[in-house]
């Protein structure tokens, strides 16, 4: 019996030791382009889903008003678009992160399969489920680039953005128009949009110096 228990202890220690040895070997994936480790995304997803089940609020967003959706669109364009994109525009960096930033306004692909909080494949409203997106925006997601917005946006604003994403397949025309890519959207980013385009930055110098 003593030997058996000793064996259990040794066995339980062996795995973490092997994992640490692998990680510090210099061969472990560290670059964003490296392939995912086996089960990596499933394991990460499990922890997240378990938290949603416990903490994410339930709210039916299918009836969100147009002004609220518009407000959500303005916040989205300011705080989210640089990674999560617009219906007609995908940021360059989105796929170059690991894990990649999902394109929230581009249904149906790029949303990690079944994770949509509301709306079936045809856009038919489902019974309200815990609002994972509200939780994601409020708390952020560890080990991704997703920041927590709880000190940046109010709860109402987080709901507006959550509603925008939940209703992305059936947005009123005004909201769709607000989500068109335009120079104004790029102006929210801290860069001179045209002049600093990759490869031809020379012209920006006079502007910034003056």
């Amino acid at each position: 019996m003593v030997k058996f228990i000793l064996g259990v202890v040794i066995g339980a220690i062996l795995i973490p030791l092997a994992v640490v040895a692998y990680l510090v070997s210099g061969y472990a994936p560290a670059a964003t382009a490296d392939a995912p480790m086996p089960f990596e995304s499933r394991i990460a997803g499990m922890a997240l889903q378990a938290r949603f089940k416990k903490e994410a609020p339930v709210r039916d967003l299918s009836g969100m008003s147009t002004p609220d959706l518009l407000a959500g669109a303005e916040i989205y364009k300011k705080d989210c678009v640089m990674c999560h994109g617009l219906p007609d525009q995908k940021p360059e960096i989105a796929d170059n992160m690991f894990p990649p930033a999902p394109q929230e306004m581009k249904p149906p692909q790029g949303r990690g399969g079944q994770r949509g909080p509301q709306g079936g494949p045809g856009g038919a409203p489902r019974a309200p489920r815990p609002n994972g997106d509200f939780w994601r925006i409020k708390n952020g997601i560890r080990l991704t680039g997703m920041p927590s917005f709880q000190n940046i946006l109010s709860e109402d604003q987080i709901w507006q953005v959550t509603g925008l994403i939940a209703n992305r397949r059936r947005l009123p025309p005004e909201v769709q128009a607000a989500l068109k890519s335009e120079p104004a959207a790029a102006a929210a980013m801290p860069a001179p949009p045209a002049a600093a385009a990759a490869g031809k930055p020379a012209t920006a110098k006079a502007k910034t110096a003056g």
Binding site: K3, F4, L6, G7, V8, I10, G11, A12, L14, I15, P16, V20, L23, G26, A28, A30, A31, T32, A33, M46, L48, A50, R51, E55, P67, L70, A73, E74, K78, E92, I93, N96, M97, F98, P99, W135, N139, G140, I141, R142, L143, T144, P147, S148, F149, Q150, I152, L153, S154, A184, A187, A188, M189, P190, A191, P201, A202, K205, T208, A209
Partner: protein
Amino acid sequence: MTKLILGILVGVVLFPLAVYAYLTSGYAPAAATDSALPLETFIAGTALFRRIHSEAPTRDVSGMPTADLVTGAQAYQKNCAMCHGLPNQPPPAIASTMFPPAPELFSQKGMVTDDPAGETYWKVKNGIRLTGMPSFKNVLSDDQIWQVAAVVSRADKLPPEAQDALKPVAPPSAPPPSAAPAGMPAKPKPRS
């Protein structure tokens, strides 16, 4: 001996089961605001450090001409500043609310001026898994990545021209007036 081996096998199976139970319990850290697991930062940092050391190129960028630094500063302004900040500016709101947080490369605390430029080059080129750091190898040219790496590794001693290129260009928020709904301030609370 048989019992010992049996015990090892049980232990080997038990450990992943315990990890699984923890992850699905709803208590595992998943929010960006949760604190780090024991040894998490150390193990991740070591993995990254070893990998970079085996791959990062060596190059002395101390003699890089000012024109290249200005180009690098402009690329930084466009691609990096939203997370890594600008000199003498408050840090971007999202930088500290990510996990792991984005270092402020022009603050005393976040500067990487002690790192070899090749290390920064590797990070910009390849990105860093499980952080928000993207890979820029499809976005910037190799020359541009070196220019950015040089700017960052010389953050505390840039020529005035490069510093000029790092001044904030656009006001932080300029929503199109027509579309902005009344009574919706962009940021209700000051950053804590």
